[in-house]
């Protein structure tokens, strides 16, 4: 049990906090095992967590753990416990312990401590929502949500601090170093939001292309035909530098990017060799096949279609399908990629192989 301050130690209870939590319905008997963590403004705490990209939470956990030490629930010191909180179950347990201890103190001082498990439940909901939904694509979402359970704990700690205090509000401003951190972190946060999450938002929530649709719609020497409706445009530059078309496909890591360059007759061979060297250098290629044919027998526009399969140990399997075509004086390179080849390789192939030369409409 936390000590409510240097001058406000409560009586100790030798019961295990876990057992205390388990007998929550009964009259809990708690023990004082340390000092009450510092009070701090909930909102400032929240923003400090966000502005430090969550790292401040680790400092906070360490602070709370150090104050509460020795808690029986874990045979971990403050630092191992802090690092352990990077693991979801450990963190959930830590929050639960916080709730239990706050309740123990609160029953004596606050009177309305709330139900134990609410914060943990919120934490788990955030984690689960982040893991199972497309929200995981946006790093700002967990950054904004994850501090909330910890802020709730802090609010209760603040409440414990305020027991009997004349001014119930806790107004603890940032320390100078924290101001500097917030001052640097906030613009970085905004930049990250703009450069990473906004494109991802556009990627994830832009309208998907209809099955059978031919793209690009104009100003290109080639077309691709959508195999199904699970592909959507991505802002240029999201997947590759200097590309002229970028698409995201089904699943998390399935995409397609195209490049168009001025070229001569030798450029196809050079382009294929360059891409081959790049992919061979990127991982453990376990299968490679290439075929070259003419896109059309009349005009003799050659195309190379190369399939690469990579097995990268625990990182899993990857596959590239690269079509490189020489269309008049330009080389068009279409690179399809999937990190889930067992699921999406066939449609990636279908899309890449749909590369055709654009015909002028009569």
């Amino acid at each position: 049990m936390w000590n409510l301050g240097y001058n406000r130690s409560l009586e100790m209870d030798e019961r295990d906090p876990l057992a205390s939590a388990a007998s929550d319905a009964g009259d809990p008997v708690v023990r004082s095992v340390g000092e009450l963590p510092d009070a701090r403004s909930a909102w400032r705490f929240y923003w400090l967590s966000v502005a430090t990209f969550g790292f401040y939470l680790l400092a906070w956990i360490h602070h709370v753990a150090r104050r509460a030490w020795p808690a029986r629930r874990y045979s971990l010191g403050p630092i191992p416990l802090t690092l352990g909180c990077l693991c979801i179950p450990v963190c959930a347990g830590f929050l639960y312990d916080c709730e239990v201890q706050i309740r123990g103190v609160a029953q004596r001082g606050i009177g309305r401590p709330g139900r134990i498990g609410g914060v943990v439940l919120l934490y788990l909901m955030i984690v689960v929502a982040f893991g199972l939904t497309p929200l995981r694509l946006f790093w700002i979402v967990p950054l904004l949500l994850l501090p909330v359970p910890f802020v709730l704990i802090q609010r209760r700690i603040n409440a414990l601090h305020n027991i009997g205090a004349a001014d119930p509000h806790t107004r603890i401003s940032y320390r100078p170093v924290q101001r500097v951190i917030v001052g640097i972190g906030t613009p970085l946060l905004a930049a990250g939001l703009w450069f990473i999450d906004v494109p991802r938002y556009q990627q994830s929530f832009s309208p998907s292309l209809a099955a059978g649709a031919a793209i690009p719609e104009k100003d290109a020497v080639y077309t691709l035909t959508m195999p199904n409706a699970s592909w959507r445009h991505v802002r240029q530059g999201s997947l590759g530098e200097g590309s002229d078309l970028e698409l995201s496909g089904p699943g998390e890591e399935t995409w397609l990017v195209t490049y168009t360059r001025q070229a001569d007759e030798e450029a196809l061979e050079a382009s294929v060799a360059q891409r081959r060297a790049m992919i061979f250098g990127s991982g453990n290629v376990t299968a490679y096949e290439e075929v070259r044919l003419y896109l059309d027998a009349a005009e003799h526009h050659p195309i190379s279609i190369a399939d690469y399969y990579l097995e990268n140990g625990i990182a899993g399997h990857e596959a590239y399908v690269v079509a490189t075509a020489l269309l008049e004086d330009r080389v068009v390179e279409v690179i399809g990629y999937t990190a889930e080849p067992r699921v999406h390789l066939s449609e990636v192939k279908q899309l890449v192989k749909s590369l055709a030369m654009r015909r002028e409409e009569p």
């Binding site: 030798e266 061979e269 060799a273 376990t286 075929v291 027998a297 050659p302 190379s304």
Partner: protein
């Protein structure tokens, strides 16, 4: 046979003197009193400016021909040519004017030849400088003489004027008379005119032209006048299959049919065959030969190999073959003499054989506008075999081709079979692949990075004949030297291959050029990948490129098979191989497959370009197909040191 005329003029008739060393050649005894008006001897200033701007080195101001068909059997062709020189290049190119005449049946009269210099003065040609020559082609002798007029003192702005008359005695020529006049030249012709007149008891000549800018109309009783103005020069390209077909022509002839020509030529051949039997000793030639193909092969080899080519084309001999017995006795003959010998031997052997006229510089039968013997310059022999039923044609002037093949240049040429009087000329069928080339290389890549290449280049069919014709006359050392030079021109001058050449002296065998080369290097020592161009495939395919822009290109079909195998060091395993090629296009195909082993790989490539005539509008597409296909032929594979082979 070239020589300056020792112009000791001893005979004189009708104002002309006869050159004693060339009794068919006459020259005007006196200079013309009045040259042509000055206005005719230079283009007007506007036209001159335009011609200079167009970059022409010279221009024919006028080209006038007066043709008279006389009742006495002579045909007189009077020419008046005025040529204006715009640049020194034009003078270099055309400052010497040349006429041709068949001395045994024609007479040539040089009536006047002079220069109008830029200052307006007239300078007459010194007749002592006139040169006469005959053909310089080895083993070809004829009565065709070339009379050259080397004008002196030519400078840009000069105009040469030549008036000449050629008189033919058509009664001394077995084939019906005809003339084929080109209506365009190598320079612009500002004024072209052809006047035809014929006597009352002469059949009205037939005439036909494919020159769009030529206008012909009757110009009085028994007179025809054809004119053209501002005729552009010929648009020629080096890769033209038949440049002569690009020249519009006017054909004037005594009325005749193809059957008339066939009948007359066959009669000449029959007369030749009837002049004494072929000696009996030749009978041994066919001893032991039972089937028709073997008999034909032996006769072909005898006539092509043992009877050398010597052409005596004087007078009527230009079209009438020598009797086979004489050819046999001399052991030489020209194309038709050899054909006559072949026909005699074939008939003795019971083979059904016949002669075929060939126009070697023509490929389009429809461009033979009217029946005329003048299109044809060659004769070959053919035989129809019964079992299996097939026709085999042979060019007996080529000792390099195997029986069943013709020299590559004859495929597609216009021919006229002298058998059916109702037949018409047609093109000799081109095989789908005239050129058949096999490339086989075995490469051993040693652990120290050295590559030992054993390469065999094999030529079959007409392509072997082409190679053989260039190699047979060389000594062993010269052949080795040629092989080394050709190898180095493709692979590089640093290497010292050893060569073995096979099949040069036996026409039934393909030509094989085998070489072994050691390339010092570091292949697959520190690098996992191997990459090299398919150099020989590219080299031989390059023979079939064309730079034509405006004229059709005749693609003589080619098939190149390239098989390259690579054995790598045992401490490496083969992992991945390069691209399979399935390049099927409008002009052929290029395919490739790799066969991978644990420590070796074999790459098989096939390029097929079937025979065809590619029209000018398709030339860019053809070039693109060939260059784009060949650009995909790099051989690539990837290995791994101490790695396990992939399944």
């Amino acid at each position: 046979m070239i020589g300056a005329l020792p112009l000791v003029i001893i005979l004189s008739a009708g104002g002309f003197t006869r050159v004693p060393s060339h009794p068919w050649l006459y020259m005007s005894a006196s200079r013309p009193a009045t040259p042509l008006p000055d206005s005719e001897l230079r283009p007007n200033s506007d036209r001159l400016e335009a011609l200079v701007a167009e970059g022409h080195p010279y221009v024919d101001l006028f080209s006038r021909i007066d043709l008279e068909i006389n009742s006495d059997g002579t045909v007189s062709e009077r020419k008046l040519i005025g040529r204006h020189f715009l640049t020194t290049e034009g003078i270099q190119e055309a400052g010497t004017t040349t006429f041709s005449a068949r001395s045994e049946v024609e007479k040539l009269f040089i009536e006047e030849a002079y220069i109008r210099l830029p200052d307006g003065s007239i300078r007459h040609l010194d007749l002592a400088n006139i040169q006469v020559s005959t053909t310089t082609t080895p083993n070809v002798f004829s009565d065709v003489h070339h009379v050259a007029l080397p004008f002196e003192g030519l400078v840009p702005g000069s105009t040469t004027v030549i008036r000449s008359t050629r008189v033919q005695r058509t009664t001394e020529w077995p084939l019906p008379w005809s003339e084929v006049y080109p209506t365009r030249g190598f320079a612009p012709i500002l004024d072209f005119e052809l006047n035809i007149a014929w006597d009352a008891d002469v059949p009205t000549p037939s005439w036909v032209s494919d020159a769009a800018d030529l206008t012909c109309r009757e110009a009085g009783h028994r007179r025809l006048r054809c004119t053209a103005r501002d005729v552009p020069p010929l648009d020629l390209e080096p890769g033209m299959a038949s440049w002569i077909e690009a020249v519009p022509h006017l054909v004037v002839s005594r009325p005749q049919s193809w059957g008339d020509i066939a009948r007359t030529e066959l009669q000449l051949i029959q007369e030749s065959l009837s002049m004494g039997p072929v000696v009996a000793g030749v009978g041994k030639l066919l001893d032991g030969a039972t089937d028709q193909m073997e008999k034909l092969r032996r006769i072909h080899r005898f006539v092509a190999d043992d009877v050398r080519y010597v052409a005596l084309l004087h007078g009527k001999s230009a079209i009438a073959p020598a009797p086979p017995a004489r050819t046999l006795e001399r052991l030489y003959g020209d194309c038709k003499g050899k054909v006559a010998l072949f026909l005699a031997l074939a008939r003795q052997a019971g083979l059904e054989a016949y002669p075929v006229l060939v126009a070697t510089d023509r490929i389009t039968p429809s461009k033979l506008q009217a029946p005329s013997w003048k299109y044809f310059d060659h004769m070959i022999g053919c035989a129809d075999l019964r079992e299996p039923s097939r026709t085999i044609c042979m060019d007996f002037t080529s000792p390099y081709t195997q029986t069943g093949d013709l020299p590559a240049a004859l495929y597609g040429a216009v021919s006229y079979v002298l058998r059916d009087m109702n037949d018409i000329p047609h093109a000799i069928d081109r095989p789908q692949f005239v050129w058949d080339i096999d490339l086989e290389s075995e490469n051993e890549i040693r652990c120290n990075g050295t590559i030992v290449e054993r390469l065999t280049r094999r030529f079959t069919g007409p392509s072997a004949a082409e190679m053989r014709s260039g190699l047979r006359g060389r000594s062993k050392d010269e052949r080795q030297k040629w092989a080394l030079e050709s190898y180095r021109s493709v692979i590089g001058s640093r290497y010292e291959p050893t060569f073995e050449l096979r099949g040069i002296d036996d026409v039934q065998e393909p030509i094989a050029i085998a070489s072994t080369t050691e390339f010092e290097g570091e292949a697959l020592v520190d690098m996992d990948e191997y990459l090299e161009p398919d150099a020989w495939l590219n080299h031989y395919a390059g023979w079939f490129e064309t730079s034509n822009q405006t004229h059709p290109f005749v693609l003589q079909g080619v098939r190149i098979r390239s098989k390259s195998s690579y054995a790598i060091c045992e401490d490496r395993t083969m992992r991945f191989v390069g691209a399979r090629l399935d390049l099927y296009g409008a002009f052929g195909k290029l395919t490739r497959s790799y066969r991978r082993g644990a420590h070796d790989v074999t790459v098989e490539t096939l390029l097929e370009l079937p025979s065809r005539e590619i029209q000018s509008q398709d030339l860019d597409r053809y070039r693109r197909f060939l260059s784009t296909s060949l650009a995909q032929t790099n051989i690539w594979f990837r290995t791994r040191k101490d790695g396990k082979p992939l399944p």
